[in-house]
């Protein structure tokens, strides 16, 4: 069992999900490894975002959701009664399609997560300051914003906003970072730099990224999961999946025959 926890940071086993009467995920079983980037691809409505949102249980906030099966993260089934969603989300962060910095200062954006998980007394200004510097340096934003930390985060360029959205997860020391089409609002240069950043981060985190863009899946991910109509069709190393898909459906999708 200990071996499994080391080999896989996320283990989804026979997971089903319903929105009301509509079943969006069917018997999903998949293991995701730490230290690499795993991409989720598939046509719109195939359940890739739903699966991503299940991994930090944020789905529950969107109303009428029912699930069965299990999702083990760091060896613990996160659907168990004794799991605190807030603590789970601290460990499993998410980056969104449209950069969504909070309408407060850059500094406050980075420390927002810490503030929501600690009492005011526990957070020393000096600790916060160094965490802000560390996180922003890590995403390559420190030099651009270090003199403007009190400025509103919503005034940054989209690329900077998206980097900030990644930076604000880091002080929480997450194990897993989920990304829902993190580049789709950016221009070509922005995409390149975010992908470089993902590549730098992947050694220390488990990164799962949903993307519509097959070229991006090819460039930025090590393993690739192809989903169709709420089921996992194929999960292979990216190079293999694109060159030599095992399933007919995968082949049709990556050739652009549908989706």
């Amino acid at each position: 069992m200990a071996d499994d926890t080391q080999a896989f940071s996320i283990r989804v086993n026979d997971y089903n999900l319903w929105y009301g009467d509509f079943q969006a995920l069917h018997h999903v079983t998949v293991d995701i490894k730490p230290g690499i980037v795993t991409s989720l691809i598939g046509p719109s409505g195939c359940g890739k975002t739903t699966l991503l949102r299940s991994l930090n249980r944020i789905n529950e906030r969107y109303g009428n959701v029912k699930t069965t099966g299990e999702i083990k993260i760091l060896g613990k089934n996160i659907l168990d009664e004794d799991v605190s969603p807030a603590t789970l989300r601290k460990n499993v962060g998410m980056v969104f399609q449209r950069p969504n910095p909070l309408p407060i200062s850059i500094y406050e954006n980075v420390v927002f997560g810490l503030r929501s998980h600690a009492t005011r007394k526990e957070l020393k200004k000096s600790t916060l300051d160094s965490m802000v510097e560390e996180a922003l340096t890590e995403v390559g934003l420190w030099h651009a914003v270090k003199d403007n930390l009190k400025r509103r985060a919503t005034g940054l360029t989209l690329e900077q906003q998206q980097k900030l959205c990644i930076a604000r997860l880091l002080p929480l020391k997450p194990q897993i970072i989920l990304m829902d089409e993190p580049c789709s609002a950016l221009d070509a240069a922005g995409i390149e730099r975010i992908e470089e950043l993902i590549a730098e981060l992947k050694a220390r985190f488990t990164i799962v990224i949903v993307t519509h863009n097959m070229a991006q899946a090819k460039r930025a991910s090590d393993e690739c999961i192809y989903m169709y109509l709420g089921e996992i069709v194929e999960h292979s190393p990216t190079a293999e999946l694109f060159v030599n898909p095992k399933e007919e459906k995968t082949a049709m999708y990556i050739q652009g025959r549908y989706g």
């Binding site: 930090n56 944020i58 906030r61 109303g63 009428n64 969603p85 807030a86 603590t87 789970l88 989300r89 601290k90 962060g93 998410m94 969104f96 449209r98 969504n100 910095p101 909070l102 309408p103 407060i104 927002f112 997560g113 503030r115 929501s116 998980h117 509103r152 919503t154 959205c165 604000r168 997860l169 929480l172």
Partner: protein, 304 residues
């Protein structure tokens, strides 16, 4: 060489479309202009007729000889306190209920019952609210006809609009902000306190103040619940003058005072009636412009 023929000449249909377009536009413009005529008409008429009595003394003195002489101070300060006390009662209830409905309530039958109650309550005529106020506050809770009973009645009457205004202001805050907070493990309340409320408070406060000032201009809800044609209060010091009423006192209010001087008393000088109306309108305009200023101020501090 003859002029080049125009390939984009309007056809008969196009000409007709253009004609109809301009008729429709001017018709609608006319209707929009009609809107401002009553506003300026009322204001001009009122202040013109009231001009002989309007002065600082008129505002600062209290009515004597059943309103035929003196000023308007006691009703004015009465309406002011009515607004204030109603605000203190209704703001927490309305705003917190609005937050619950918009941010927490699951989509089930219970929420639908609450929504239906809010909508129905908004449709109840003010005189029915007044009777409810008498039954509930004056008689059943045995509070008697007083400032507090009247304020409670106004509170019940205004709560649906305040709940609705709160919900609309909250709904205008983009969902993406909430998602960002939740995904860092913030609770709903942390999200509301740090992000949602600071970005919606301008809309909420404006809605609350506007609605209460509207209700305070009404006569019906205070008619049986606390308003008086005249009151005996001490007026010895400045303190007495600024705070003439206790919560359990009957009080004078501009709307009811206007009702009395305009209808009930023979030989009332006309300018005294118009003076009362002018002060009532001025007070409401003042409260409205205060709330608009507040909104502009809070918006300028808004963070996106």
């Amino acid at each position: 060489m003859e002029a080049a023929s125009n390939p984009f000449k309007p056809s008969a249909v196009e000409k007709r479309k253009t004609r109809v377009e301009s008729i429709v536009k001017w018709l609608m413009f006319g209707m929009a202009i009609l809107l401002i005529i009553p506003v300026f008409g009322i204001l001009f008429h009122l202040f013109h007729k009231a001009a002989p009595v309007l002065s600082w003394d008129y505002i600062w003195e209290s009515p004597t000889n059943r309103g035929k002489e003196g000023g308007i101070w006691l009703p004015l300060i009465g309406t002011f306190y009515l607004v204030l006390v109603s605000l203190v009662i209704v703001a927490p209830v309305g705003i917190l209920a609005g937050i619950y409905i918009n941010e927490y309530a699951p989509n089930n039958w219970f929420t639908r019952v609450i929504n239906m109650a809010v909508t129905s309550l908004a449709g109840v005529p003010s005189i029915v609210h007044a009777l409810f106020g008498v039954g509930a506050f004056v008689l059943t809770l045995n509070m008697g006809a007083c400032l507090l009973s009247a304020a409670c009645t106004i509170a019940v009457m205004t709560i649906p609009v305040i709940v609705t205004a709160t919900r609309e202001a909250l709904a205008a805050v983009p969902m993406a902000f909430r998602e960002a907070c939740w995904n860092m493990g913030a609770s709903k309340w942390q999200t509301i306190r740090t992000i949602v409320l600071p970005n919606s408070i301008s809309g909420i406060l404006t809605g609350v103040i506007l609605e209460i000032s509207r209700a305070a201009g009404e006569t019906a809800p205070i008619l049986f619940t606390g308003a008086a044609a005249s009151v005996a209060v001490r007026m010895n010091s400045l303190g007495d003058k600024l705070m003439p009423y206790e919560l359990d006192d009957r009080f004078m209010a501009l709307s009811y005072h206007l009702h009395v001087v305009a209808e009930k008393i023979h030989g009332m000088p006309e300018e005294m009636k118009y003076g009362t109306a002018a002060v009532l309108i001025a007070l409401i305009l003042l409260i409205n412009s205060f709330s608009i200023t507040l909104r502009i101020f809070l918006r300028s501090r808004k963070k996106w």
